[in-house]
């Protein structure tokens, strides 16, 4: 019953070793391999997710900062534009004022000159007309003395420049 056969033992030892080696290759290795591969995929997926989250947060922070700086920048720009516009406005206004004054003064000067010229022309014309009139009167009239005095009077009056109405 408890007989021990040496060949039996040898066979059993060989059998067990062969069984262990083959089963490790055939059964354990594929199962472990698949579980490890899956674990790797899960791990890398989790890692990727963590990295993406980190990146997203960094981008969000960056955008926030940019947005803030854009707000202050735009305010600055508006301020600057206002100042620029005011300066420009003042410059334009002062220029326009200067121009207007220049034009006005020029116009005034022109007007003065024109008036003087007109006055002089009128005086000259009046003198001519008076002379003509006087000569005609003198040539045709017998009242030479009376006319002569009238003529003198007219001459003095128009020479003073007050005779524009009577013409």
């Amino acid at each position: 019953m408890l007989k021990i056969i040496p060949w039996d033992i040898l066979f059993i030892i060989i059998n067990l070793i062969v069984l262990y080696v083959i089963l490790r290759l055939v059964l354990i290795k594929p199962i472990r391999g698949i579980i490890e591969q899956r674990q790797q995929i899960i791990d890398s997926g989790l890692q990727n997710a963590a990295e993406s989250e980190k990146n997203a947060k960094a981008i969000e922070a960056e955008w926030k900062e940019k947005l803030d700086s854009a707000g202050t920048q735009s305010a600055e720009m508006i301020e600057k534009a206002k100042l620029d516009a005011k300066a420009e406005y003042e410059k334009l206004v002062s220029e326009a004022k200067g121009e207007a004054e220049r034009i006005v003064s020029k116009a005034r000067k022109n007007m003065d000159e024109e008036r003087e010229k007109v006055v002089q022309e009128l005086q000259t014309q009046a003198a001519g007309i008076a002379l003509d009139t006087a000569r005609k009167v003198l040539e045709s009239s017998d009242l030479a003395d009376v006319n002569k005095s009238l003529y003198d009077k007219f001459l003095t009056e128009s020479g003073d420049g007050h005779g524009s109405e009577s013409n």
Partner: protein
């Protein structure tokens, strides 16, 4: 009829055939049954791990994976992280013992009923345990472990080297033998109905329990050794 003589005859390990070299190598029943079990396990193992995928697994793959993970976690829980390298050995050993014990149900003499087989298994276990101890604690640490917790227990620890495998061997052999003897007795007393029902207990249940106990104890020894 003489029950004793019949049981004794049944317990005899018969030589199935002889390989005609070196003056004839006897091949016993145990070895032949082992070959059958090995063939079943290897072909079965090859078949159940075919077409394994990472995604969209089949039900078969899920069952195999969860069973493997369960066994792995169970044995890892016993041997600890430092003994994790020995988990595949324990899993294969357990599967082999369960299948070989189940063979008794089909009326085949299970290899576990041969004391040579259980003896070899026990020696394997103790060799692996000692190797684990040497690997984990270096030879010096392994030698010192015999004098722990106090040097007084040194002889007992040395005796354990022989006692542990002997107890493993005899427990498995004795249980299977006992179950077998009881089954034979029952068959003689009540030949109808009782044998198949009780066979479920003595062959199936007891076989699984013994396979579990054997691997569990081996795992415990490994854990003790690598500690």
């Amino acid at each position: 009829m003489d029950i004793g003589a019949e049981i004794a005859k049944e317990l005899e390990i018969e030589t199935v055939f002889t390989i005609p070299v070196f003056g004839g190598i006897p091949v016993t029943e145990t070895v032949v049954v082992m070959w059958i079990i090995m063939a079943i396990m290897i072909i079965g193992g090859f078949l159940i791990t075919r077409n394994f995928k990472i995604k969209d697994c089949s039900k078969r793959q899920l069952i195999v994976e969860s069973a493997y993970t369960m066994l792995e976690n169970f044995f890892k829980g016993i041997v600890g992280e430092r003994g994790a390298a020995y988990v595949p050995y324990l899993i294969i050993l357990m599967c082999f013992l369960i299948i070989s014990d189940l063979f008794g149900v089909f009326g085949v003499k299970p290899p576990t009923k041969d004391v040579s087989f259980t003896g070899v298994l026990a020696v394997f276990s103790i060799v692996i345990v000692q190797m684990a101890g040497i690997k984990a604690n270096r030879p010096s640490g392994w030698l010192k472990s015999f004098a722990k917790p106090t040097p007084v227990v040194l002889p007992i620890n040395i005796l354990e080297l022989g006692i542990k495998p002997l107890s493993l061997c005899m427990r498995l052999f004795g249980n299977v033998l006992g179950a077998f003897v009881i089954m034979k007795l029952i068959e003689c007393v009540v030949p109808v109905f009782a044998p198949p029902v009780l066979s479920l207990y003595f062959d199936l249940f007891d076989g699984c329990i013994q396979a579990y106990v054997f691997t569990f104890l081996t795992a415990l020894y490994i854990q003790e050794a690598v500690e």
